[in-house]
Point group: C2
Chain length 404, copies 2
Amino acid sequence: MTQSHLSHLACPACGTTADADVPQNLCGCGSPFLARYDLERLAGATTFDAMTARPPSLWRYRELLPVRDDAHVVTMGEGMTPLLPLPRLGGALGVPRLLMKDEGLIPTGSFKARGAAVGVSRAHELGIERVAMPTNGNAGAAWSAYAARAGMRALVVMPVDAPDICRRECTAAGAELYLVDGLIGDAGAIVAGEVGGGGWFDVSTLKEPYRLEGKKTMGLEIYEQLGRRVPDVIVYPTGGGVGLIGIHKALGELRELGWLDGPLPRLVAAQATGCAPIVRAFEGGARTAEPFPDAHTVAFGINVANPLGATLILDAIAATGGCAVAVEDDELLAVLAETARLEGAFVCPEGAAGVAAIRRLRESGWIDESDEVVLLNTGAGIKYPDTVAADAPVLQPGDALPLR
Amino acid sequence: MTQSHLSHLACPACGTTADADVPQNLCGCGSPFLARYDLERLAGATTFDAMTARPPSLWRYRELLPVRDDAHVVTMGEGMTPLLPLPRLGGALGVPRLLMKDEGLIPTGSFKARGAAVGVSRAHELGIERVAMPTNGNAGAAWSAYAARAGMRALVVMPVDAPDICRRECTAAGAELYLVDGLIGDAGAIVAGEVGGGGWFDVSTLKEPYRLEGKKTMGLEIYEQLGRRVPDVIVYPTGGGVGLIGIHKALGELRELGWLDGPLPRLVAAQATGCAPIVRAFEGGARTAEPFPDAHTVAFGINVANPLGATLILDAIAATGGCAVAVEDDELLAVLAETARLEGAFVCPEGAAGVAAIRRLRESGWIDESDEVVLLNTGAGIKYPDTVAADAPVLQPGDALPLR
């Protein structure tokens, strides 16, 4: 059996360590725990080539993932999503070396499947049978699906404004679903009340350490797909920020393994102007974020007013010379349509926020024409039908075409 | 450059051959043309191992695909979809060796992307700039997307009852979309009237030879993913039937290459009782199908009353000792929910028709408990929100959970 080199958990804020082989939530200091691996032993035991010779799922990076026994892996084939050149859109934006990692091509149609696959697998391994979480939709859908496949129960609370399809995914998979007439923070408070009573394990964003390990595989795949190197810039639509933190963690591990040299990509947090706590903190030079008032955006997945991982996000941005930038809803909807028209790619509104951020950063000169830029499209546009129009003339059988 | 070994086109009905390097539609006798390869030369020039060492998309089978110049490949990363064991559903059905090939994890969320990728690439290579087609939704969405990426124009006509999301995909990608208050046959007649006038190239199902070449890669992948062997049974939700014909063609080519021995899998065409022309012909022992009257089913993708490829479908079934079976809409909707609950997999209604067919065939004994059965789930359930419920209690911020 291929071995996980997971060694322990460590708190990035206060340095406390913890046993990785029992269920853990936050550190006593309030910070998330991070999974740590014995990278020295790993570097001696295997090679990146050995990993990439395996079947094309995120489980090819088995040694850098926390699940110890293959029998506990709960998979639906997630990972190794395409990294696609977008030459026509890149031309229009003045970024000819634009690439998109398309996280729509994954079970449940969003990158949340990565965190759910690894998080559910590890919870299953640790004997957890019931998981609970607040969600803006896609994470709840993904955890419900993987929990069903594992034979576990899931409890999900999501805002009434979350995408309709995500409700259906949760209930179809047999989750206990509640809606809340509020934001994800309100959903989180309801979940916290329940898990306090016991019985349910809290798998809220960053409140357990293994969702992040699933998300970090986006960084490993970008490195692999570029031929063992990294781009100049990675743009990530940021709500809870787990993907950005995860990509930064993955690239740091590759460096420590001796498999990656040179500067890391500048990490960019793309947010919506209606919910931009990270942008506000970044612009103010802060290491923590304040709750963003009256949060709202059409890019519902990044409507997170008070992300628990704010410090980890801001640190990753600072460590890589990155930045945070906010875009208007009408900007992102316009560029969503432009992306479909020019490239055939129907991205989610969060992904479109990333495209709009790239446009702004190119206009300001922060992104140079020579930069290689990777956009994370975090989900499939088909989950968001209302972002594009459906008008078309209706003909009767036998009619001829009134071509426009 | 890796070479396509495409040699010519041949009519399977009358034997006429045709030049593959100019645009071709149907043979003069009315049958589709099939693409033929110089398999003897191919067997000497490469190995299957060489193909499978390439990046995980359907383009790894480059020599067995019709596109001659890499520069003409129009791709969004399609192919190498997961082949997943479904142990819990298989247990419930009495088919413990049940596997699902999940064609939801592909651009545009349906297997139609395979046909569109190869069809658009080859049309692009042959200098075609405008393509026209009728569709039940997903093919139109896929061809619109790939045409956009190629810089080509697309004209799509689809029934008003086709899934709403498919309209949006077409218009977002810039296609000229018309709806028809009728069935796909009515849409086809409208397209035929327009392409007769010239200017648009007809890419209707099987009216050009290369969509089939994209679809056949499902067969190549099943063979690869099982470790160079085939299952006992492959169940395919059958509307136009291009995937079934394509899988049969692919396995035949592998045999001729000397890469596959032994019997082929028994191919099963799963249809809905509301639209079952192939089942009716199969049961009557016919080699052609009659138009099915008053066609209707919730599995809209297989609502094809008069498939052009009926003879090719029936011949593939006969050659492999397969069968055709129809299921009721309520059966397939029930098993769709069961699949989500047991496996976390949200399949499309057409895929669910395949599951229901497996249940029937196991009950009748046609499928044995020992059989290894591969189901094609031809699309993502998230494109069909109405197949599952969305009911959930609504709480106010601060509420406690009334757990059920």
